[in-house]
Symmetry: C2
Amino acid sequence: MDDQELFALFRKNGYKVTTQRLAICKFILSRNDHPTAEVIYQELRKEYPTISLGTIYKTLHLLKELGLIQELGFNEGSIRYDPDMELHINMVCSICGKIYDYKAENVKKLWNVIISDIGIKPDGQRIDLYYKCDDCKKNEL
Amino acid sequence: MDDQELFALFRKNGYKVTTQRLAICKFILSRNDHPTAEVIYQELRKEYPTISLGTIYKTLHLLKELGLIQELGFNEGSIRYDPDMELHINMVCSICGKIYDYKAENVKKLWNVIISDIGIKPDGQRIDLYYKCDDCKKNEL
DNA sequence: GTAACTGCAAACGCTTTGCACTCCC
DNA sequence: GGGAGTGCAAAGCGTTTGCAGTTAC
């Protein structure tokens, strides 16, 4: 999604285009490790020293409303933000908490079988798979 | 799981058996709607007026450590506690937030196919399916 | 008897809110 | 110019922690 499309999407929904919104939006859309608000804040502060956490949260809510991202609550305390709205598996390291997305045609196919088994119309889904990542496995010895 | 088994499990792990622990434990194991700590507190307060939220949280952590329950972080703010440690789908109403578990042999079978596709050894998983429950669908009209 | 547990209240951390100032349109 | 958006700081809320008194064993 390029600047043009973002501009259009914001305006269409009656929101103004600001430097902060663009920056937050482009940042979150470019990451697939599901950063927390704090991580986004610390990263963006380097380029925009006056940006505030309040603005980060308000913008993230806006992006959620526009359907660009989803919120994933974990029990580590904070919420993570995931810009991938398609069906995928969140691969979560059960030790360090690192996350990456796993996407495959077969997952979609099998998921559709499950959905039709249950017989309801889904609004969305969240699939987490907990495992030990390579780095953490090494350090376990 | 009856009282005898709970007693044994606690003692085996070096924990004392107290009235509060038994009550919290039996309460959470008997529910499949994944209550929050606050809900557990309000319910148990009826029978045990002096029980405290602190004790609820400490006991829930203990039960998690013993592998009897899992914590599910949602973005509504609070954590929910799920006593079903087997593979299942959390059916979450995207409007009212009500949850029930969906379990089926076919889900396990299909999930195993996905796991072997990915090729890792899983530590656990969490599968949420968001949909509109019958009550909420009715009220939408 | 004593170590572990409870209840209470204070502390904590993430998120939300309110408000004066600023900037988009 | 006007209203939406930002930044700041205070408030909110679920959860954790510390400690004196209590209980299991």
